[in-house]
């Protein structure tokens, strides 16, 4: 084999490559290539993924990129050595440095580097003169000559044969140029798809990238389907022979292997006088003395645990790892102080808190990385660190959003912009994006596409074709056929880079030698070009700094309580066994409570009735895909019932050796740690083997990996006196857990926050609601439902009012006042300026002095925030005829003369209650007044029940119920069943929609805010559901009742969870 492809693009060229890196690698192996270069545009986003996939298929991966120069010309760079790779990373970092202009970070500019930068970073790189259309060799011969000198001995003029008209002349000119520069030529294929069948998608991607249709981008497209990976022999025939044969020479130069050690090290404190071990010992000793000064009973156990843990950490060489996290948390403490301000009532709160398995570590507890005492809570360490671990453990830290924002920038500043960056994430094509982008490229009717986008299941673009069959209308012809095929093919391809929710990588060696770094869309932030999987594969230490809305809400609530009531609340000291709080939890009165507010959690709470924090820990972990798929929920509920009836009840287990590991969860597997415990107890797995099994379960497409552990498990069980049948039964139980589940330590951390939020909700409902509204978006319910729920619990909620509202929601005489920021089209800055400009005398005064745009002021009036000055229509008219001030010079405002309009305002009809309510919803997403169902009720048949009737309705009764859809769930674990929550003027009711009913009424389920459901009432113990057989849209009736006002669009859309 003689030809090697040195120029290929994957989908990580973002809309200029139609195949994933592993598809290229697999196809290369199939065609007989022994090496292949990946040269995506201005990035190595997919290079590590490609390198691992290529290795798997026995193809040698050559790492490279096609860089863009100022002026738009391209140059292909390939890495010969580690030095070359580091230089490539620096070149790409430079190319992206100017892609976000300060102050306009949202607008992404094209990446480009300069000849100077390339000349300065030529070591270890092989340069090819670029592609046929935009290559430097074609576009800029003088620039080519400069680089030929800079890359002396490693510069090749690149020849391509894309079968476009003009190939012969261009290649002749390039050969002349090569002779003139005395450099060799080399041939490449400029591959954009791994297979001919993907070539059409490549055309469509070009159209998408050009933001036009296929018909409109003839110049940009290649005009044929030749840029695909072809067999080496065919390439040898097609290309100039000596240039094609020279690909082998170039490939043999490029020996750099990206999968090998990159030379990454995290800051491990080894540069101090004392060793990292000693530093950590000293830190823990000081903190231990503080934290356990008054501990009774478990101080000795804690000491022993600390000694063991420090010894293990020292043995694993992880002391620097813990010190690094501690240092980040100290930075967070500084940020918290700045954000909260001196003397803030929030000072008693830690800056953040741990989640995940790290909560089981006493070292994490002492260094402030966790807020749960693992000894007191009975949490084990094994899942977090153990003697056999091969990779650094994960520590996830949750912060209130405001602290996290500051911390991310502070970490970058502390370690240097060349040493720290956020982890990337890649937005991939799902149904809706595929429908809109592919449909537009094919020139299909916009309305048809939107109709399909509304009813699609949302996630899986491979099903768009099937979904299209369910949409009325004719969808035939070549365009629609292509649409079916291309939406399937585009599914899962990356579209653009974005930032991971909070993962940061920090490196001792400059990070920009290891992976290119580029500015993010948010000011001050920068991201590396690898996602969390690639960072993991590279062995990078990822610190997760996550923003948790509930932490923000809790801090906000505590702050308000202290300011308004003078009560300082230390959440770490509130009673953890408050009967009133648990009574509400047991009654599933938990709207707005962290983690236990969802419909599924509420249904479960009515059954399990948690009585203490330990129960709550189980509860938080129980309603997760792992325990649900592992069929743990019903046995747990059953065993709880039995235990409640008879405290001496012992839950059955498959084998006596499982009794202890599963004692806390009544014989079922609820926590991830229990997978380890069961494997060790039943099959005598070592902790490393057990962790290997757990990791296999958490991987995507892990069936094979999980099954690989079965023989070893069964063998271990047999050796432990467990018969083969039982061994398989136990393993099946573990396999069932393979979906997502929480470690116990994580559940304990979340359970505590769930309790704390329930406690605040119970005793400070107004402050809690106010804080929740300010922390949106978060949680299960839309703000309108949080308001309705609070109103049912007698919290007074006041509408926005221009002369009383602040930018955010506030407490006013014990009631919650909606903030101006809730008015749609009023930005945060506008809301602050409007609040600062108070008082306003009338709407004309408001119009003259406020700098907000006219549309924002109209929304404020339409939302009722100016009702104190008269009827909304009158005010809107006056607003329209008032002369407004102008912004002049550097943001100064030239006020308009206070001239009164010369014409009288005509008499305008007052708004009906319907219109006012709809305007409230439309402009603020909240209505604090009448509920739509209250207005609609007189128009509904008398037989329609309300949510208040359900508790008294006998099981099996055929009923109909009307309401506003507030949440819709289609869990992956529910076999296509859709769960909906309807809200009426009395409360909420649960709907269960079986798959055939969903298929029949999909448009209503997915799009209608007001609906009538008919079906059979099902009662299981304290749970009441309506098993739906028929659905009717109430849109037409509401429109009629509202005198033709637009109802459907004004009402808020239901929150959607799970598969779409």
């Amino acid at each position: 084999m003689t030809y090697v492809e040195l120029h290929s693009h994957s989908a990580y060229s973002f809309l200029d490559g139609a195949s994933l890196p592993e598809e290229l690698a697999a196809r290369a192996a199939e065609l007989g290539y022994d090496a292949l270069a990946l040269t995506d545009h201005d990035g190595v986003y997919g290079s590590l993924e490609f390198a691992h996939a290529a290795k798997h298929f026995g193809v040698r991966a050559i790492t490279g990129a096609e860089v863009t120069l100022a002026g738009g010309s391209h140059l292909t760079l390939l890495c010969e050595s580690q030095q070359g790779y580091a230089n490539l990373c620096r070149i790409l970092t430079d190319a992206h440095a100017g892609t976000r202009v300060p102050g306009k970070e949202r607008d992404l500019l094209p990446a480009e580097t300069t000849l100077d930068v390339l000349e300065a970073h030529a070591d270890g790189l092989v340069a090819l003169s670029g592609c046929a259309r935009h290559g430097l060799g074609t576009v800029d011969p003088n620039g080519t000559a400069r680089l030929a000198r800079a890359f002396a001995g490693a510069f090749y003029v690149e020849l391509q044969r894309p079968y476009e008209r003009g190939d012969a002349r261009r290649n002749a000119q390039l050969i002349d140029l090569a002779e003139l520069l005395r450099v060799p030529t080399v041939a490449t294929g400029d591959v954009h798809a791994h297979h001919l069948r993907r070539a059409r998608l490549q055309d469509a991607l070009v159209a998408i990238k050009s933001r036009t249709s296929l018909d409109g981008c003839e110049r940009e497209r290649r005009g044929n389907h030749e840029s695909v990976l072809l067999p080496p022999d065919e390439m040898l025939e097609r290309l100039p022979r000596d240039a094609a044969l020279r690909t082998r020479e170039v490939a043999e130069r490029c020996t750099f292997d990206l999968t090998q050690e990159l030379g990454y090290r995290y800051p491990d404190f080894s540069d101090r006088v004392e060793s990292a071990d000693v530093q950590l010992h000293e830190l823990c000793a000081v903190r231990f003395a503080e934290r356990y000064a008054n501990a009774n009973g478990h101080k000795r156990r804690a000491r022993a645990r600390l000694d063991d843990e420090l010894q293990l950490i020292g043995k694993l060489g992880l002391s620097g790892f813990f010190l690094l996290h501690w240092e980040v948390l100290e930075l967070a403490r500084e940020c918290a102080l700045e954000v909260r301000g001196p003397g803030s009532p929030r000072h008693a709160l830690p800056p953040g808190r741990g989640r995940g398995s790290s909560v089981g570590s006493i070292v994490c507890y002492l260094t402030g990385l966790s807020h749960v005492d693992p000894v007191a809570a009975g949490l084990s360490l094994g899942r977090f660190i153990n003697e056999e671990m091969v990779a650094v453990p994960d520590i996830d830290l949750d912060f209130p959003r405001d602290i996290r924002e500051k911390l991310i920038v502070r970490v970058t500043e502390r370690y240097g912009r060349e040493h720290a960056a956020l982890v990337a994430s890649f937005a991939t094509y799902r149904s809706r994006g595929a429908i809109r982008d592919v449909g537009k490229a094919l020139g299909l009717p916009f309305a048809e596409l939107e109709r399909l986008a509304r009813v699609t299941d949302g996630w899986d673009a491979t099903r768009v074709g099937e979904e299209l069959d369910g949409v009325p209308g004719t969808h035939s012809g070549p365009r629609w056929e292509a649409f079916r095929t291309l939406t399937k093919e585009i599914s899962g391809l990356p579209r653009h880079i974005s930032q991971h929710p909070g993962g940061m990588v920090i490196s001792t060696r400059p990070l920009i030698d290891l992976v290119p770094v580029q500015p993010a869309a948010m000011a001050g932030r920068q991201i590396c070009q690898w996602d969390k999987d690639s960072c993991g594969d590279a062995g990078f230490l990822k610190i997760d700094l996550l923003g948790l809305g509930m932490l923000s809400a809790v801090e906000d609530a505590i702050d308000r309580i202290a300011r308004l009531r003078g009560e300082t609340i230390d959440l770490s000291r509130i009673p953890l066994d408050d009967a009133k709080v648990f009574a509400e939890i047991q009654a599933a009165d938990t709207v707005g409570v962290f983690q236990i507010e969802s419909r599924a959690q509420m249904q479960s709470l009515l059954q399990t009735r948690p009585e203490n924090l330990e129960d709550l820990t189980v509860q938080v972990a129980l309603v997760r895909p792992g325990p649900i798929q592992g069929k743990a929920v019903h046995p747990y509920v059953k065993h709880r019932h039995a235990k409640r009836a008879d405290p001496s009840f012992e839950p059955p287990v498959e084998h006596e050796c499982l009794r202890e590991p599963l004692r806390d969860t009544l014989g079922v597997v609820v926590f991830q740690d229990q997978v380890l415990d069961v494997a060790m107890a039943a099959a005598k797995f070592t902790i490393g083997e057990a962790e290997g099994l757990r990791r296999a379960m958490s991987r995507k497409r892990s069936e094979e990996a999980i099954e690989a552990f079965r023989p070893r498990f069964v063998e271990g069980c047999l050796g432990n006196g467990i018969d083969e049948h039982t061994a398989h039964a136990i393993y099946d139980k573990l396999v069932g857990f393979a979906g997502f589940g929480f470690p116990k330590s994580h559940a304990a951390a979340f359970g505590l926050l769930a309790y704390q939020s329930a406690w605040l909700r119970r005793y400070y409902p107004a402050e809690f609601l106010c804080a929740l509204l300010n922390a949106q978006p978060m949680g299960f319910y839309p703000p309108s439902s949080l308001v309705r729920d609070a109103q049912r619990r007698e919290v007074k909620v006041l509408p926005p009012q221009i002369n009383r509202s602040e930018a955010e929601c506030t407490i006013e005489d014990g009631a919650v006042r909606i903030g101006l920021g809730y008015v749609a089209s009023v930005g945060e800055q506008d809301a602050r300026e409007l609040a600062a400009g108070r008082p306003y005398v009338d709407v004309s005064d408001l119009a003259r002095r406020a700098s907000a745009k006219q549309g924002a002021l109209e929304a404020i009036v339409a939302a009722g925030a100016c009702d104190e000055w008269g009827a909304r229509r009158q005010l809107l008219w006056r607003l329209g005829v008032t002369a407004r001030g102008e912004t002049v010079g550097s943001g100064n405002r030239q006020l308009a003369l206070p001239l009164e309009p010369t014409a009288e305002i005509p008499e305008l009809p007052a708004q009906t209650p319907w219109e006012e309510m709809l305007a409230d919803y439309k402009h603020t997403s909240i209505s604090v007044g009448v509920h739509p169902l209250e207005l609609l009720r007189p128009h509904l048949p008398a037989a329609v029940a309300t949510s208040a009737d359900l508790p008294e309705t006998p099981n099996g009764t055929l009923i109909q119920i009307a309401g506003m859809a507030i949440a819709r769930q289609r869990p992956a674990t529910a076999n296509g069943i859709v769960f909906m929550l309807l809200e009426d003027e009395h409360g909420q009711s649960n709907l269960i929609i079986p798959p055939p009913v969903y298929d029949r009424y999909r448009a209503i389920v997915r799009g209608e805010p007001l609906l009538l459901a008919r079906g059979k009432l099902e009662r299981h113990d304290r749970n009441v559901n309506l098993l739906v057989s028929e659905l009717v849209s109430l849109g037409p009736l509401a429109r009629k009742a509202a005198s033709e006002a637009e109802v459907t669009r004004a009402l808020p859309r239901a929150h959607h969870f799970g598969h779409r």
Partner: protein
């Protein structure tokens, strides 16, 4: 006198510029033309391919050749892969 644009005279004389015309081509095994309209091919100057409009009712799938005939005349021919027919078109 200028004829009315819709008149029969105008309609009769209007035609597409540079419309392809069917050609009699004999080809080698690899598809390159050997003979065009009974004239031998001297040089194949270039070959290019067009695959386009696959999303419409009239997809284009052609293999073009820029030729110098033995008579010294330049010509461009293409093979329509869908219709399996040869055409000439002025370059």
């Amino acid at each position: 006198m200028v004829a009315h644009p819709g008149s029969a005279r105008i309609t009769r004389t209007a035609r597409r510029l540079n419309a392809p015309r069917p050609a009699l081509v004999e080809a080698h095994a690899d598809g390159t033309p050997r003979c065009v309209n009974r004239q031998g091919v001297g040089v194949v100057r270039e070959e290019w391919r067009v695959v386009d409009r696959w999303w419409t009712d009239e997809p284009v799938h052609r293999r073009y050749f820029d030729l110098v005939l033995e008579t010294g005349e330049n010509t461009v021919v293409y093979h329509d892969d869908d219709a399996c027919t040869w055409f000439t078109q002025r370059a």
